[in-house]
């Protein structure tokens, strides 16, 4: 059987190094299969997060040859196997061990955002009527599997470490899914402008490129939110209107 070398980042916050493991590879294998084989045969204590192994849960996020990827959806036949395949943890989050990072910041960010707040139901049975075409774009946002690869690649978080001032692409998508929800009544624009740091995004679209669900994060979520913020806070006519109406 063919063999390949995997250069895996091993260690914790204090001490770490790349360790080379050679293992057998076969048709159709993905990087997660190779990591599992190494874990079972050579390094029982190797830490890696995973669940569904089908690109649906967003657990096995890491960096393969420097690219943010789901390990379960990265096929070996798309990689040059004549050289070692580098597998390392996401770099925008604190390391726990080996390929596992502390992503708890993301869960805290979501908890602070204003929750979904529907208008009263349209029907007596507590339901709402919505047209499919009015929810298509929200359903795109709701495809998100919370793998946080968009957060990992975003330079505002990865390089500038502005986790306290910027919620990152994942949560702009979340905000967009709420703001554009046909029955939501809440307004999140002030938070987006003042606390969530939407202004830091300079639409380089790195997040869109790495999204395994192919959500057009920048064009469909972030830019429309930026426009709404501009409309609410900087539109001179609306500002004048507010002065008179207050």
């Amino acid at each position: 059987m063919e063999k390949a070398t995997f250069r895996i980042w091993r260690g914790d916050a204090n001490e770490a190094q790349y360790v080379d493991y050679e293992t057998e590879v076969s048709e159709g294998m993905v990087v997660l299969d190779a990591v599992h084989r190494i874990q079972a045969e050579q390094a029982n204590d190797l830490a890696v997060r995973w669940n569904c192994k089908a690109g649906k849960c967003g657990s096995c996020s890491a960096e393969v040859n420097g690219n943010p990827k789901l390990l379960c959806m990265t096929r070996l036949n798309d990689l040059p196997l004549d050289q070692p395949v580098t597998v390392e943890p996401m770099r925008a989050f604190p390391i726990i061990k080996d390929l596992v990072t502390d992503v708890s910041w993301n869960f805290k960010v979501k908890e602070k955002m204003k929750p979904f707040t529907p208008r009263p139901p349209d029907e007596e049975d507590g339901t709402w009527r919505m047209e499919q075409e009015d929810i298509d774009h929200i359903q795109e946002f709701r495809k998100c599997i919370e793998c946080f690869l968009c957060q990992d690649v975003c330079h505002v978080l990865r390089e500038h470490d502005l986790h306290d001032e910027f919620i990152g692409p994942r949560f702009f998508v979340y905000a967009a899914s709420l703001e554009m929800h046909p029955i939501d009544t809440e307004n999140r624009l002030e938070e987006l402008k003042n606390q969530d740091g939407i202004g830091y995004c300079n639409i380089t679209k790195c997040c869109t490129k790495v999204c395994p669900e192919h959500i057009t994060i920048t064009d469909n979520a972030i830019i429309p939110l930026k426009e709404r913020v501009v409309d609410q806070f900087y539109d001179p006519i609306k500002r004048l209107f507010r002065v008179f109406s207050s």
Partner: protein, 605 residues
């Protein structure tokens, strides 16, 4: 004793998939202190993998649907071994549970009138499954999660419970470890809800992830609760078979609901060859009628591809065994053929089945809009599980509740697709509600410190075992091989006796597995600790399968091909720990159906 971090909750919920989250939301509604333990990160549990939809008689697409039809469908699908009261509650309450999700932000696909759209699925007489493309589970878990995080629930992510704690007869908490540092955590609680999901990891070919090691079943068993009908393991007929690394990954029944057909290597639509007696009147007798059914023709009957999962899985195995399989040991599932029937078929398939398109394209280089898929059975779900009271979801252990896949009763000998997502909503809510009530009605219980110390020692044992002890992954793999081979779709007295022996041998080996490294995020150690659960559920499945000397629903005995054992009547198997700590098995007769239930069943034909 050593001091461990201790958390006090009124209600502790173990498992954070749909059932656990729904239970937590309900229990927190009365202002109680609720803890939610997840084995993984929040929102990653297997509910996320559910594709096709959630069954609820909303009657949005076909007004002839009602709770009575849903009840009758569920009972028939379960071969009348289901708990009828649970089937009634489930059918009556699931519409409200689904509607409520939209109040929490879920967005199901719509009908032309703007209400929740419903699709056809195996065993359901009318289009009944509310869905979002083929990612319904993701929509549900996200809606529950995003609502749940604002209800004041304490979420303990990446924690594993290794034992329940009891004080006298009553459950009083749980002992666990957190993954990151390997530190122990003690949870004290007035009531505990188990919502840990399934047991798929006991088998080699499975749609389940590493987490599904039967933790809840095993925790309940060791605490003295009963396990019912454990022999009924659902082998979903359509898992991926190629390439090897993705073998077992689920291919939604929605493919067949949208018109997908099963064919063998001779191009024959073999599902027409064998239609069970119970379903003859409900099944199409021509491909044309079957196609019309999938396209919403209300007069047409469903195609045989949409017969119950146990039957479809057996037919696929038959085709493969008789040499009519696909190149990699499955059969063909073809949705691309619908281009003969509708314009823009390619676009239609990608819109209706986006994640299936994605999955085959990226993992198998197959474009499902152009060519057929290769599929075969995969271990998917266990109908059996922890025996609970139908209304309250409480086990026979006071203060211990269970809901979702780890609990049992609703599905009998076979579960209908879509009835799992509705099960976890309906009974997750009930478990949360009654656990909260139990916690309010019953005072604090003191924890037993000596028991805690004993558990702590056992949990660290794999580090202390000699270095030449077995590799935990190897023992797990051996168990999976044996369960697949001996306790799979086709079983016999001989295979089951052998399985029980193998399990015994593996248990001895499991006691001496060695864990390398330290306690921090150590997958090898975790695998070693999961082995006890896996072995417990494997033994209970094999033992119950040996006890049921008949072939019914998902349980097939080569040596007893008939549905009923002569003179045995209808019964449930019950596994419970005996006084001498060995695993005991007994039968309990299925209660006679009340007149009211029987009337509904007769009326629905």
């Amino acid at each position: 004793m050593a001091s461990y971090e201790t958390f006090e909750h009124d209600v502790l919920i173990i498992g954070a998939g749909g059932a656990g989250l729904r239970a937590a939301i309900e229990a927190a509604a009365d202002g109680l202190k609720v803890g939610l333990v997840c084995k993984s990160l929040l929102g990653k549990a297997h509910t996320v993998m559910a594709e096709g939809g959630v069954a609820a008689a909303l009657a949005n697409v076909d007004e002839r649907d009602s709770w009575r039809v849903h009840f009758a469908d569920t009972m028939r699908g379960g071969q009348y071994l289901s708990n009828a009261r649970m089937a009634e509650l489930h059918a009556k309450e699931s519409p409200d549970r689904v509607r409520e999700l939209e109040a929490w932000g879920a967005l199901f696909d719509r009908t032309k009138e703007g209400s929740i759209l419903q699709r056809n699925f195996g065993g359901h007489q009318y289009p009944r499954l509310a869905h979002v493309g083929d990612r319904t589970g993701l929509e549900m878990i996200r809606a529950l999660q995003d609502h749940g995080i604002h209800q004041g629930i304490d979420v303990h992510m990446e924690n594993t419970i290794v034992s329940l704690l009891k004080t006298g007869d009553r459950v009083s908490g749980a002992f666990g470890y957190e993954r990151e540092k390997g530190r122990f955590k003690i949870f004290s609680a007035k009531a505990v809800v188990l919502a840990t999901g399934g047991v798929g990891k006991a088998y080699k070919i499975t749609s389940n992830s590493w987490e599904y090691t039967g933790d809840g079943h095993s925790l309940a068993y060791h605490a003295g609760a009963e396990l019912i009908d454990m022999e009924f393991v659902q082998f979903h007929p359509t898992g991926m078979v190629w390439p090897p690394s993705v073998r077992g990954i689920l291919v939604t029944e929605g493919v067949r609901g949208e018109g997908g057909i099963l064919t063998n290597s001779e191009g024959n639509r073999f599902m027409f060859d064998d239609i069970p007696e119970l379903y003859v009147n409900q099944t199409a007798d021509s491909p044309e009628e079957g196609w019309n059914y999938t396209q919403g023709d209300r007069e047409a009957r469903r195609p045989p591809e949409l017969l119950t999962r146990d039957h479809v899985a057996r037919c696929i195995v038959r085709e493969v065994h008789e040499g009519r399989g696909s190149p990699h040991g499955g059969v063909f599932l073809d949705i691309a053929w619908i281009k003969e029937k509708i314009p823009n078929a390619q676009e239609h398939i990608r819109r209706k089945l986006p994640s299936m398109y994605h999955q085959f394209k990226e993992l198998a280089d197959i474009d499902i809009t152009q060519e057929p898929m290769e599929v075969g059975p995969t271990t998917h779900y266990i109908m059996g599980g922890i025996k609970v009271d139908a209304d309250t979801q409480m086990t026979c252990v006071p203060g211990l509740f269970a809901a979702g896949e780890c609990a049992a009763g609703l599905h009998g000998a076979n579960r209908l697709g879509g009835n799992s997502l509705s099960d976890l909503l309906v009974f997750g809510k009930r478990a949360g509600e009654y656990a909260a009530q139990f916690a309010a009605d019953n005072g604090e219980v003191a924890l037993d410190d000596s028991a805690i110390e004993e558990i702590a020692q056992q949990v660290l044992q794999p580090f202390d075992n000699p270095e030449d002890g077995d590799n935990p992954y190897e023992i797990q793999a051996q168990l999976q091989d044996k369960m697949q081979e001996l306790v799979g779709i086709a079983r016999s007295q001989e295979s089951l006796m052998q399985a029980l022996e193998e399990i015994q041998t593996l248990r001895e080996k499991a006691d001496s597995v060695h864990a390398i490294g330290n306690r921090e995020y150590n997958a090898g150690w975790h695998t070693a600790l999961d082995l006890d659960c896996l072995l417990t559920v494997s033994e209970s499945i094999a033992l119950a399968a040996l006890e049921r000397k008949a072939s019914i629903g998902a349980h097939s005995r080569d040596d007893f091909p008939e549905k009923e054992e002569q003179g045995a009547g209808k019964y449930n198997t019950i596994v419970q720990k005996s006084q001498d700590n060995t695993m005991g098995i007994r039968r309990e007769p299925v209660p006679e159906l009340t007149e009211e239930y029987q009337e509904i069943i007769d009326e629905m034909g």
